[in-house]
């Protein structure tokens, strides 16, 4: 069965929240609708379920990789070029701590950024249903549904006071 997408545009967060409520009332799965806005509203503004993500894993993984690379660099460079200075041991720990500190943080930062992009579901090659007026202050409620529910879903959006409703066929 092919799927279709529909976008309703709203002037206020209250109207968009009503549209979300109507969709929930019509047993639309929370993965099948989304709210698009040009402004970051506080979580739960539209009555949507909390966002679940695993972003916190990324910096930890990055830090572990960065630390490993730092230890490899610290041990490796000193052992590969064993220059004795002042009769001290070849392996000097304090500088390795500094390298480890920097590269651990670098790894954590790099992986955090990768995590943000990945968890934000970016890059998104096909933009899908969208309206450029969203960045000008309108709020969009976009919903994907199985063919045959067109009228029911459109009613959910228009009943909440949509300024405009757009549809698009998906495969």
């Amino acid at each position: 069965m092919s799927r279709k997408a529909i976008l309703g545009l709203y002037e206020t967060p209250d109207a968009a929240a009503d549209a979300v409520e109507n969709l929930q009332g019509a047993s639309v799965d929370s993965n099948d609708y989304d709210i698009l806005s040009g402004t970051p509203y506080p979580e739960g503004t539209f009555g949507e379920p909390p966002v679940e993500h695993k972003l916190y894993v990324f910096p930890l993984a990055g830090a572990a990789i960065g630390l490993t690379l730092a230890l490899f660099e610290g041990f490796g460079t000193q052992l590969a070029f064993p220059m004795v200075t002042g009769g001290k041991p070849i392996l000097s720990v304090p500088p390795m701590i500094i390298l480890a500190y920097e590269l651990t943080l670098l790894g954590a930062i790099l992986f955090t950024v990768l995590g943000i992009i990945f968890e934000s579901r970016l890059p998104r090659v096909v933009k899908g249903l969208y309206d450029e007026r969203i960045t000008e202050g309108l709020i969009g409620v976009v919903c994907t549904f199985d063919e045959g529910r067109d009228e029911e879903i459109a009613k959910c959006l228009t009943d909440a006071g949509a300024l405009e409703v757009k549809t698009e066929s998906e495969t």
């Binding site: 989304d34 709210i35 698009l36 806005s37 040009g38 402004t39 970051p40 509203y41 506080p42 979580e43 539209f46 949507e48 966002v51 993500h53 972003l55 916190y56 910096p59 660099e73 610290g74 490796g76 460079t77 000193q78 590969a80 070029f81 220059m83 200075t85 000097s92 500088p95 390795m96 500094i98 390298l99 500190y101 920097e102 590269l103 943080l105 670098l106 954590a108 930062i109 790099l110 955090t112 950024v113 943000i116 992009i117 968890e119 934000s120 579901r121 970016l122 890059p123 998104r124 090659v125 096909v126 933009k127 899908g128 969208y130 450029e132 969203i134 960045t135 000008e136 202050g137």
Partner: protein, 457 residues
């Protein structure tokens, strides 16, 4: 009293993308001027590469001159970005919103400029990559026990981290520009925004990203200038630099000059792009208060550093203090540094009318950075000139025209890069300003209506 005005999303978009979509004539004039001076600097670097370090005023025993002074200065300026952005973001300080991106961008450009200075100072600047562990064939590796190897690690981490911090926060603003442009610009901003549509998930991750990246960048910010201070503190040959207080002293000095630099840039941008509704008196006032605290903390560390040198009664330390206080031209530079870095601006910031005056804040923050540049000069040159016990090997330093041109060009380059950035991307975070507008409210207490900010727990 706050002087905010209600703005719609369209008004915010229009004004803040103004610098990108419509270019005032004075932008061309200023960019052209700064580009010309930068080009002169590039030519000077070319001459230096061709003729060698003999073109500079450096000679034994003063082997670190204007370039290293300028390196430390620009590292200091680069500290404002994370200081303002990360700390204020974590503290949920509302007035941070218009200042964060300019501060972060200033960080990146100042850091890039700082990183160039040791390379120019190398003489054989095309061999700068020797500091990295690359030489698999010859088996020659950098000595990681040297602070001069720690420095590129810290700098690279800070530069990459700060650049990514800016990029992540720019993604929603790329989407705004994508929606407001057409043709090639639309394609470019579309590619940069990576298909960002402002879903609940994307905004939520933006918020979390700001917190995580701020928390990760703060330790890097502290480490960078500490490591720069160890370039000096761990130099065996220069006894006057052997002090354990250098790391916090350098960090607080960096914050002092960096925050002052951000205020200077914000005032200039406000004038250039008519951002009166975004960079308001309350912002400059808040930054002025912050600067007052930082300046006094810096003075405390400076006083400690000065006194420790005398208390130890080490010959090299005493002789450097003697130069600062009693020998011309060093005593003139010392007085200039004290007056411009502290004695003129800080008492002025006690007055609210000064902190809320754009021309006076511009004047005082420029003074601070003149003072802080001279501070670095005084820390480096006299200590090197008097590093030996025997007076017949003492030396002095006078900058050559090549050094003066290159150092001047670095200032032009940073201003030019800021202007070019403002032409391509919004220098005030659009989504952050919109979020501030959403969370703003007015509450009535008795007969008074007070502007309030709602904070999400």
């Amino acid at each position: 009293m706050q002087d905010r005005r209600s703005l719609t999303d369209t008004q915010i978009n229009d004004t803040l993308t103004n610098s990108v979509l419509r270019t005032p004539l004075h932008w061309y004039i200023l960019t052209g001027l700064f580009a010309t001076i930068t080009l002169l600097g590039v030519i000077a670097v070319g001459v230096l590469a061709n003729r060698g370090l003999g073109m500079t005023g450096m000679n034994r025993p003063v082997m670190w001159g204007f370039f290293i002074t300028n390196f430390v200065f620009w590292i200091g300026i680069s500290h404002a970005g994370v200081m303002l952005s990360a700390i204020l973001r974590l503290a949920q300080a509302e007035w941070r919103r218009p200042a964060t991106r300019a501060a972060e961008v200033l960080t990146v450009f100042a850091l890039g400029t700082a990183a160039m200075m040791p390379i120019v100072h190398l003489g054989r600047m095309w061999r700068f990559y020797w500091v990295f562990p690359y030489d698999w064939a010859r088996g020659i590796w950098p000595d990681i026990r040297s602070p001069l190897v720690w420095d590129p690690h810290a700098l690279s981490t800070y530069l990459i981290g700060s650049s990514l911090f800016i990029f992540v926060a720019l993604i929603p603003d790329f989407a705004v520009l994508r929606d407001k442009t057409s043709g090639a610009a639309h394609q470019i901003y579309g590619a940069l925004s990576m298909g960002f549509r402002g879903t609940v998930r994307q905004w939520r991750l933006q918020a979390i990203a700001g917190i995580i990246l701020s928390a990760l960048l703060l330790p890097v910010f502290v480490s960078v200038h500490s490591i720069v201070s160890w370039d000096f503190g761990m130099a065996l040959a220069i006894p006057a630099w052997h002090t354990t207080i250098f790391a916090p002293y350098f960090v607080i000095g960096a914050v002092h000059s960096g925050v002052a630099g951000v205020i200077t840039v914000l005032i200039l941008l406000r004038w250039l792009f008519r951002w009166d509704d975004y960079i308001r008196r309350e912002h400059i006032d808040a930054l002025g208060r912050l600067l007052f605290v930082v300046a006094n903390a810096w003075l405390f560390f400076f006083a400690l550093e000065f006194m420790f040198g005398l208390v130890h009664r080490e010959g090299t330390e005493v002789v450097v203090r003697d130069m600062w206080l009693f020998q011309t031209p060093w005593n003139v530079i010392f007085l200039l540094f004290l007056f411009t870095g502290y004695l003129i601006p800080v008492p002025m910031w006690l007055f609210r009318s000064v902190r809320r005056s754009f021309p006076l804040m511009l004047f005082t923050t420029i003074l601070v950075n003149i003072g802080m540049w001279l501070e670095r000069f005084l820390l480096i040159i006299p200590s090197m000139g008097r590093k030996h016990s025997f007076t017949f090997v003492w030396g002095d330093f006078a900058p050559s025209p090549i050094e003066l041109i290159i150092v001047t060009a670095t200032f032009s380059m940073v201003f030019m890069l800021m202007l070019l950035f403002a032409k391509a991307f919004p220098l005030i975070p659009i989504f952050d300003i919109k979020e501030g507008a959403v969370l703003r409210d007015e509450i009535k207490i008795g007969r008074r209506t007070v502007q309030a900010i709602i904070r999400e727990e």
